[in-house]
Structures are given as C-alpha cells and as structure tokens.
C-alpha cells in the first residue's frame, strides 16, 4: 500500500502561482483567507489525511461495512477518525458564520477534499455527502429548519444524505414514485424505497438528516412534480437532540466493486415524518442550485485517483528492478535497472502525472468560480456561474474518466503486483470506477454539456470559455517558448467552435445526432480544457525559470509534462473530432432486437 503524501508543493503552485489565489481572495473580500492562513489550514489538513485517514484506507476496504437490523457498522477506525475530524472543526470550514461555520471560501475546502479523497475516498464520502443536505437547507430551508438541522450539519455532529434514486429510476428522476402525504400538523408522511443512498446509515454520528425527493398527492407527472423533504433518522426533541426513531430504516447495504468502507444503503421510508423544504413541486430546481458544486466534489475523485495511483506507481517504478535500459545500463551495480528507465513505464507515469496535475488545475480553477457564485454579485456572479455551469459536466465526466485511466496505469506499472490487493493499486481502480456512474453517468454529463449547456444557449456557454482561451493565446503570441503550446491550443480552440456548429446543424435534422456525438464531444472538450490549463502552468513555470529560481527542476518538470501532454495525449482530440464528423447513423440504424445477434 503506497504511503500518501499530500502534494503540497503542487497545490501551492496551482493555487498561488498559476491561479493567483491571493488576489482572488482579496477581491472576494475573504480577509481570513490570507496566504499564511491557507498554508496553515492546508498543512494541518494534510497531516490529518496522511496520518489518520490514509492508514485506514486499505483496512476499510478489506473489512467493509456490516449491516444488521440495528444499523450499519463502519470499518474499524472510521468512527474515531470522524470524531477527530469534527473536533478539528473541519466540517464547518466553508459554512456561513451565521450557522456556526468559519466562513472560508469553498475553494479552500476543495483542496481539503482532494487530500481527504486521495487518502481515503470511502471515508471522505461520509462528511462529503452532508454537503447536499446542508446546501439544500441553507438555500431553501426555513429559519426553524436551519436552526434545527443546519447547525448540527455544519458542526458535523450529524451527517446528511440526498435520497434520489429508486429501483426503477436513476437517470430518469421523472418516474420516481415515493409519496408524501400531508399530516395534520404541517408535516408529511413519506413512503417509498430509495436505493444507492451513500452514507444512508452508519454509526459515526447520532443522527442522519435525509433530504428526500418525493411526490405530493396530485403532483404533476414527470420531473415537474417532485418536491423535497427533510426526513431525520431521529426526530429532534424540543431541545434539538435526537428523540424518537422516525419511520426510516436501512433495509440492506449493497455489495459493490469498491468503496467498501462506505455504506451504500437501501432506505425504506414507511410513513416517515418529513418536512417540505422549498416550494412544492420545485424539488429538482432547488437541487440544481448546488448540483454544480456537488459535481466538482465528484470530479475530485478522478484527480484523487490519478494522484494516489501516481504516487504509488512512481515509488514502485523507482524501486523495482527489471531489464536494462535500451540506451545502456543506468544502474550498473544492480542486477537490473529500475523500471522507470523504460520508455513505456515513463509513458504511463507521465500520463498519470499529466492527468493528476492537469485536473488539479482545472478543478481548482472551477472552485474559484464557485467562490464567486457563492459570494459574488451581479455580473461577476453571473459570469462565474456561466463558466462553472459549462465546466461542471466536463469536470465531472472528463476528470473521472481520465482519473480512472490513470488508476489503471497504476496497476499496470506494478505488473502482476498491481492485481494483488495488498499493494493497494487495484483498490484505487475499484474505488474510482463508481465515479463514472454516480452523480450522473458520463453519458448524462455529456448530454448536459452538449444539449443543455451549449446547444440550448446557441453556443454562448462555449464561447465564454473559448474567448478566455483566445485571449490567453493572444497574450502569448510573441512568446517563442510558448509557441509549442499556443499553436495547437489556438487551432483546437477554433476547431472546438466549428465542431459545435456542425453538430448543431445536423441536430436540427435529426435529434439523435446530439446523443450520438455527446460523449466524444465531452472528451474532446476535456482534452482541450486540459490543454489550456497545461499551457497556463507551462507559462507560469517558464516565467519562474526566467526570473531565476532555486527550484529549476520543479519548474522544468512542469514544462516537460506540458510538452508530453501536448505531444502524446492531446492528439486524441483528432480521433474524437473525426468520430463526431462521421455522425450517428451507424449506431442508430440497427434494430434493437438485432443487437443480440
């Protein structure tokens, strides 16, 4: 099992040097977020992740969660780690001061989430899942609801869930059937079965606050008839403490490919007492207010997978001896050379590195936009919201797809040992696989990007972004050392718009063309975005080198990784472009019954 070391140098590089976070927080008016303060927070967080969470990652996978009629027991050490987490005040970091939070910007929390996620994704989901419930109540709850639930969620004393999926409905929430019948006292009786509820039941806290999607009597069909309800596991008594058991139970937990340390629950609501939150039948709209931030949260799983598997693979590749370098022995005293001398091993490591560091820049950038969405006003807020809305499906789908690829490289670098549980690499693959499925599958994200975000705005969302890339390319026009990046980037940036126009035109004739192009389009977009951020990192690194630095190796490695990305990964865009150009007829022609031939 590889030791986890928080990549603090790289985090600082992205935050401070590439994204200029000091100016960002000053503009944002977040006085507390001074560089020293942030450094201290991140340093402390890193320690907690390295020393407390990482050591229970593998044991958590092996032990898994245990279900009994009394509830779910989490793996050894999980509960204690959570208590420490609450004691350290971590859950409240990004919450508003008026609800007991520390009022720090979301972007700092994203850095913490990365470290938690890399150290132990399963564990991180318990506090992570509270986010949705917390945001819903913060955004749409009544003052009483906020007083009762939000304070406890902010402190971390209680955790929360989002109960959306039902056995018959996952991607298509319009067909959900859970019912909410009004009680005389203004509350509702919620009845129905929810599945795939992460952290739906566990032993780490005294109470769990479920936010449940259900239908009121006579509600319109489809997605326009869904309302949100708060349903606590225990009904708070007059003092606000957990009182009577509510009619909600965990029927079973799933046996899964990975994230064994996190309980994926079937939740049965049997006339459970709940309270409406937000307007009737507007449940889905209410959820969209925080969906973007939640999806950044999931995209981090891709980054975490890339970072964790890269750390493991790199250590192994330097240590493991096999064969000689084709350009002559590099370790003449040993029986063989360390495998990092072999080009193909380097190809895999560099791919992991390019994905880990590139998606970090992308995600942190998006997190800064999230800060403006939460704390900005007027135009600034709207612009940030537009960019974030555009980037969200790309982050969620592309970062997890790329992270999953990186995790598989990690296994491959280890050879046969990669397949063996004790080395930890296969766990990363198993844990990460879910990221391509939950919070909207890759396919759903791709439809969101191409359909809702781009075609429905007549391309405006894309233009916001390509304009920014264009400006960046212009700024670097005369810069010889940036030429290797700027030329392909500006070509792709232009092609991106052209491809979109073409899809838009064909989709007018045949609506299937959107879905047929969508995933290739999303991946194409992801690669171009990553190219933009790699160019920005290369630009910063080259500036540092030009200014003179004692960290020449670090910055040179950045430039070289950027070159690798441009030379060896970015060409994938050509294939996606051509597949899109070839249209959807070859996938739509076949009769559904004929697939089984």
């Amino acid at each position: 099992m590889p030791d986890y070391k928080a990549p603090l140098r790289d985090i600082r590089f992205v935050m401070n040097e590439v994204l200029n976070s000091e100016k960002h927080y000053a503009d944002l008016g977040a006085e507390d977020a001074s560089p020293d303060m942030i450094d201290a927070i991140i340093g402390e967080g890193a320690k907690f992740c390295e020393e407390v969470l990482a050591p229970i990652n593998q044991s958590g996978d092996q032990e898994g969660c245990t279900w009994s009629p009394e509830g779910v027991k989490t793996p050894a050490g999980f509960k204690e780690a959570y208590a420490q987490f609450v004691e350290g005040g971590w859950p409240s970091m990004n919450a508003p001061v008026e609800h007991g939070g520390q009022g720090l910007p979301e972007s700092i929390n994203i850095v913490l989430s990365e470290m938690i996620g890399t150290a132990n994704w399963s564990w991180g989901m318990y506090p992570g899942l509270s986010h949705g419930a917390r945001a819903t109540i913060e955004e749409h709850g009544t003052p009483e609801q906020q007083e009762t639930y939000l304070t406890k969620l902010v402190s971390g004393e209680w955790t929360g869930t989002m109960c959306l999926t039902e056995p018959q409905c996952g991607s298509d929430l319009g067909i959900l059937t859970t019912k909410a019948e009004p009680n005389a006292d203004g509350s509702y009786a919620i009845t129905g079965t929810k599945i795939f509820i992460s952290a739906g039941e566990h032993d780490m806290v005294d109470n769990i606050v479920h936010v449940v999607l259900a239908r009121l009597p006579g509600a319109p069909e489809g997605t326009k008839g869904i309302s949100l309800f708060i349903v606590p596991k225990f009904l708070p008594d007059t003092a606000g403490n957990p009182g009577d058991k509510n009619g909600v139970t965990c029927g079973s937990i799933e046996h899964k490919m990975g994230i064994h340390g996190n309980a994926t629950c079937v939740m049965n609501f049997d006339g459970a007492k709940g309270w409406l939150i937000g307007p009737e039948n507007k449940g889905l709209n209410c959820m969209f207010t925080f969906m973007n931030v939640a999806r950044i949260g999931t995209s981090i799983q891709g980054l975490a997978a890339a970072e964790g598997s890269f750390q493991g693979a790199l250590a192994y590749a330097k240590d493991r001896l096999a064969m000689r370098s084709l350009s002559g022995p590099k370790n003449p005293d040993g029986k063989a050379d360390p495998i990092i001398v072999h080009p193909d091993v380097r190809r895999m490591l560099l791919t992991q590195k390019a994905i880990a560091e590139g998606t970090r820049a992308m995600i942190y950038y998006a997190a800064l936009q999230a800060d403006w969405v939460q704390h900005g006003e007027g135009e600034t807020q709207k612009d940030a919201d537009d960019i974030l809305g555009f980037l969200t499906p790309i982050l969620k789908a592309f970062c997890t797809e790329a992270g999953y690829e990186a995790a598989n490289h990690g296994v491959q670098v280890f050879g046969g040992h990669g397949f063996i549980a004790e080395w930890g690499m296969e766990q990363i693959v198993r844990d990460t696989r879910i990221a391509l499925l939950y919070e909207g599958t890759t396919g759903i994200q791709a439809l969101d990007l191409l359909g809702r975000k781009i075609l429905m705005t007549q391309g405006a969302a894309l233009r916001n972004f390509t304009k920014m890339v264009h400006v960046f390319c212009k700024e670097n026009e005369g810069n010889e050392s940036m030429k290797q990046f700027i030329e392909p980037l500006s070509t792709l940036n232009k092609e991106w718009g052209e491809i979109t126009m073409k899809i838009g035109a064909t989709a007018m004739q045949n609506r299937d063309e959107v879905g047929a192009a969508s995933v290739d389009f999303l991946m194409y977009s992801g690669y171009v975005c990553l190219a933009y951020f790699w160019a920005r990192m290369a630009e910063t690194a080259q500036q540092k080198i030009a200014e003179g630095t004692s960290e020449g190796d670090f910055y040179n490695a950045k430039v070289q990784t950027a070159s690798f990305y441009y030379d060896r990964i970015l060409p994938r865009t050509a294939a996606h472009a051509q597949m899109i150009a070839n249209g959807g007829s070859s996938m739509m022609e076949m009769d559904a019954e004929h697939f089984a031939f």
């Binding site: 298509d172 080009p343 380097r346 491959q412 050879g415 549980a421 296969e426 198993r430 031939f597």
Partner: protein, 594 residues
C-alpha cells in the same frame, strides 16, 4: 446476470464462412484425415451446451467464495470440483492434445472457439483447464518420450492438472534474474529448490496431482536468460505404476488476495529439493517455453474477449429491459413509463462498440489460430514458414490488443448498467475485475508491445510487417469492384497506408535513438490492432453483404462493420500523431523530477 448463451451462430460464421475451415483442414497434411466438419460441429455444439449449463452458473458464487488456503492446501469454491470432474470426463483438456497420448488432435481454430466459450462461462474455471493444456503442450513439444507417456494422458484426461512456474518475487518480466536452482541427482533427475509466485492453479483439490513446469538454473549455468532450464516437477511423486504417492517437497506458501479471478488459486509455491526432470535441452528453457507461449498468449487474448462477450450479452439484455428517459426522436414505448434505454444514442454507441470489438476479436483470434494450425499441420515448407511468420507477428497483438479492448468493452458493459454496474450481484463489475489480469499476465501488454515493435518489426526491418500489408493489399485489390464493400475499402487502404508509414517512421527513428522503440510500442500495437480489426471487419462484411437481404444476421454484420469504420477506426489518426511526436518528451525528466 443474463444467462450465458454460446454465440454459436457467429462462431460458425467466422470459422466456416469467413475463414473456410473445411477447405483449410482438407488441405493440410496433418488434419485432412483426422478432422471432419461433422465432428467439429458436434464439438462446438457440445462446448456451447456444457459451458452454458455446467460452468457459467458457477461464476458469480465462485467469485464471492473464492479459493481457500488451509493446512497447506488450496481448495476451490463449492461446485467447482464436481463441475471439473464432469467437464474433464468429456476430454476437453485434451481437445487439441496429441492423439499419440490420448489427446483428440483437434486444430486450434476449433480449440479457440471452445476456449472462448469456456472463458465466457468463467475465466477462473477455464484457467485450470487451459493451464493444464498449456503445460501439456510444452511437454509434448519438448519432453522425453518417457515423460510424455507418463504424464500426458493423465493431463489430457484431467486426472492431473498442470501449472507453469516462471515468476519469482524479484523477477517477473525479467526472467534472466531467476534464482531457483536445479541440482543433478545423478540418476537423470534433479533437485529443484526455489520460490515461485503468481502460480495460477499452483495447487488445488480438483485433481489428484499437479504437474509443475518450473524454470530453474543448473549449477554453473550462464547468467541471464541464456542459463535457464525447464523442469517437470510433480507435486506428488508418481511411481512406476502411475500411482500418486507422497508429496514431492512442493508446498504452497500462501494464496494471493486479488482484484479478480478469485476462484482461481494464485499460489506462492515453495520447491524444497523437489525431484524434477529436465524438459528439452539444458539452458534452453526459455526457448522451450516459447513454443507454448504463442498458444498461451492467444489464449489470454481469448480470455479477454470471452469475458467481453459475456458483458455484451448482459448489457444488451439490460438495455432492452431497463426503461429510463424518452427517445430524443419521439416516444418509442408509449405503453411504458419510459423507453428502454437502448433507444438512446449513447447507449447504442456503447453497445455497438462492444459488439464491434468482440466480434472483431473473435474473427482475429480465429485468424491467428488458423496460422497456428497451418504452421503445425502443413507439410509445405513455404506455407509453413509464412504461417510461422504471421504467428510471430500477430501473437503480441492477439494478446495485448484483444485484452485491452476487452477491458474497454467490459467497462462499457458496466456503464450501460449505470449504478447497477457497480453492484456485485449483477455480474458486470466481476467481468471487469476478472479481465483486468489479462492485460498483465503472460507478459504485460507493454511487454507485448515491445515484442511487436522491437523483435517483430524493427529487428527485421519491417519484413514481417510487409507480409501483413501485402495480404491486405491483395484483398483490397481483389475486391475493388465489389460494390457492397467498396465504401470500406478506401478507409481500410488509408489505414494500412498510415500503419506502413508509421512503421517506416519507427524503424528509421530506432536507428539513431534506442528509446524510439519503447516510446512508440504501445501506441503502435494499438494502431496495428485497429488496422487488423478493420481488415477483419472488411472480410466479414464481404461474406455477409451478399446475404444481407435474405437474413438479418448478415445485415447486422454489415451494419456493425459500418460502425467500426465510422466510429472506431478514426482512433488511428490520433495514434499516428502521438507516435510521431517521438520519444523526447518521455525521456527528458530525470527520475527525481517525476
């Protein structure tokens, strides 16, 4: 999990119609009197039945239960023992074995189809059988008459199992570093001592004995890979009457806890002065293994797409059944709350991709098996030599490309299931876990790529590659007036052109930069695989097109070919671009700078 159904229709299409097995077998010296179509067909039919009914039902539970290691012994999951006994009684382990020792002597082209069905049913189970066949193959090719007579019949009958013991803790890819020793006893036998790891089927309770083929070094053997010999070491001693006796100082240290193939015991084996016999010549152990390696590598490739076939069958059933959302072009199932997800273009993209890869793999594995048969059964030296060259060229592609695409396919099959794809009971995630190992063992896919790029392409200046290129060119030329597939021939020709051009580029680059081979290898193999599959799909389309109006099966073939060319082959453009970016970016970082 949907019930497994052996894809016999497609198997027959590929074997009989595309590759004309009957004609081939009738023409080869070694098969013309021993193989007839009726027998072959009956074997396929029976293989389809027994794998679907006897083995496939074990797979899910076998994964949950896994193998056990207690008191120094490995036991297989419930049901495996009985199934193995029934299966062995059918003589399946000896299907392609040497008839002189009670094998059935069937050609590999048929064996490949049977292996596919076996692995689709359960890779773990299939490994026990195929490891035995593989060990038997090496024994048959290199061991003394005495060893063959003693061991082969029992292995073919499944009474004894086989295992291959190569890897040691510090030496996997680099076998030159192995430490296991073999000391001559003076009576023609040797004392073998050492530790081997990752030994699939190294111990189990399926049969009475395990016959290990162990790589070890003789005293004073040259260092490196030229000093390795191969030994036959039975787990239990066998007396002159073939009675299995006491343990031969071959013990199990532990079994591994793995990502997948959990019903297959992966053992640490300790040899502590175990009695063994030399197989083949002294210090030529690796060469002896190479005979078998081509078969084994094809077999691992087949494992991959066999699992992918299973995943595809499940995904199609699920996509036709699961209702979610409405078709973008209008409601397709108005009587239901939503449309089956097979109406959605992206779900179709995944299914079509799975189908195109899996059937392409089936064609390709049959194509390679065909060359194996020619090289084994032909008496025409020129034909034989050509087939051997094609086997050499295609084997790394068969192993690596088929397994890489198999993992992609199984992942897609999981994706079609949405969240359920992540849940064990549905079976899709198991197929991903089981398939993952196929990219690693029998030489990682990186090692395969080096074999292809270095030994098979660059080392001979592209001579072997020309054999393939000219075969495809001949096909294109012959079909140039065939209106039914002419739209495929142009992109096929372009892709071969791209591959030729890239081949030349790497050969040239390798002259001045030793890193050029390793830097290009994986993407080159990918590119070669794509072009080879394009060729396979063009050949399938050629056979199917004239019958497309009469039979939907053939119509679907043509449509899938079209999909492959429109939505998969374009990857070749990117691969060429990546390869031509060269090695510099890969080699420039120091190890510390990573």
């Amino acid at each position: 999990m949907a019930e497994y159904k052996a894809p016999l229709k497609d198997i027959r299409f590929i074997m009989n119609e595309v590759f004309e097995a009957e004609k081939l077998w009738a023409s080869l010296a070694g098969t013309k009197d021993s193989v007839d179509m009726e027998t072959a067909d009956a074997i396929l039919e029976e293989a389809g039945k027994i794998t679907a009914s006897l083995i496939a039902p074990l797979s899910r539970e076998g994964d949950e239960e896994g193998c056990h290691f207690e008191d120094g012994k490995v036991t297989v999951p419930a049901g495996y023992r009985d199934a193995f006994k029934t299966f062995s009684e059918g003589g399946w382990a000896g299907l392609t074995g040497n008839p002189e020792y009670d094998g059935m002597g069937m050609p590999k082209m048929l064996g490949a189809q049977y292996e596919e069905m076996l692995y689709s049913a359960d890779i773990s189970f299939g490994l026990y059988v195929c490891l035995t066949s593989g060990a038997a193959l090496a024994i048959d090719a290199h061991a003394s008459e005495e060893l063959k007579t003693k061991y082969l019949p029992k292995m073919y009958s499944g009474e004894w199992n086989g295992a291959m013991d190569l890897t040691e803790p510090h030496s996997g890819t680099d076998l030159g570093m192995i430490r296991a020793k073999a000391i001559p006893n003076g009576d023609g036998s040797f004392n073998v001592t050492g530790t081997k790891i990752f030994i699939t089927g190294g111990d189990n309770d399926l049969s009475d004995n395990i016959i290990h083929l162990v790589l070890a070094k003789l005293p004073d053997a040259p260092s490196g890979s030229r000093g390795i010999s191969l030994f036959l070491v039975p787990r239990n001693k066998v007396d002159e009457n073939d009675v299995v006796g006491e343990n031969n100082k071959v013990t199990v240290g532990s079994i591994e806890h793995k990502m997948g193939i959990k019903a297959s015991g992966t053992c640490v084996m300790n040899f502590d002065g175990a009695q063994g016999w030399l197989v083949g010549e002294e210090n030529k152990g690796l060469q002896a293994m190479f005979t078998m390696m081509n078969y084994e590598r094809l077999s691992v490739g087949i494992q991959g797409f066999a699992a992918a076939e299973r995943s595809y069958q499940n995904a199609v059933a699920y996509a036709q059944d699961r209702i979610q959302g409405r078709s973008p072009t209008g409601v397709a199932a108005p009587e239901k709350a939503a449309d089956p997800i097979i109406v959605h273009p992206d779900v179709r993209r995944m299914l079509m991709t799975m189908k195109a890869y899996t059937e392409g793999s089936r064609a390709f594995s049959t194509y390679v098996a065909r060359f194996l048969d020619i090289s084994k059964f032909s008496d025409d030296p020129e034909q034989k030599q050509h087939a051997e060259a094609m086997v050499a060229l295609m084997t790394p592609i068969a192993k690596a490309y088929m397994t890489d695409r198999a993992l992609d396919t199984c992942i897609a099959g999981q994706q079609v299931f949405g969240g359920h794809g992540y849940i064990r009971e549905w079976g899709q995630e198991q197929l991903v876990r089981d398939t993952r190992i196929t990219q690693i063992y029998e030489g990682t896919n990186g090692v395969q790529a080096m074999d292809l790029m270095g030994r098979k392409v660059v080392a001979n200046g592209g001579k072997l590659f020309e054999l393939f290129a000219s075969e495809v060119a001949t096909f294109i030329e012959a079909e140039s007036d065939n209106q039914a597939i002419v739209h495929l021939l142009k992109p096929l020709a372009a892709s071969v052109e791209r591959l030729s051009d890239t081949t030349e580029y790497v050969i040239k680059a390798a002259q001045s930069d030793p890193s050029a081979i390793g830097a290009a290898a994986v993407e080159y193999l990918d590119l070669f695989g794509l072009v080879a599959y394009a060729y396979m799909w063009a050949r399938m389309a050629k056979v199917a097109a004239p019958q497309a109006d009469a039979d939907e099966f053939y119509d679907v073939k043509v449509k899938t070919a079209n999909f492959f060319f429109a939505r998969i082959l374009p990857k070749s453009v990117s691969l060429v671009e990546s390869i031509k970016a060269g090695a510099d970016e890969m080699m420039s970082l120091t190890a510390e700078q990573f």
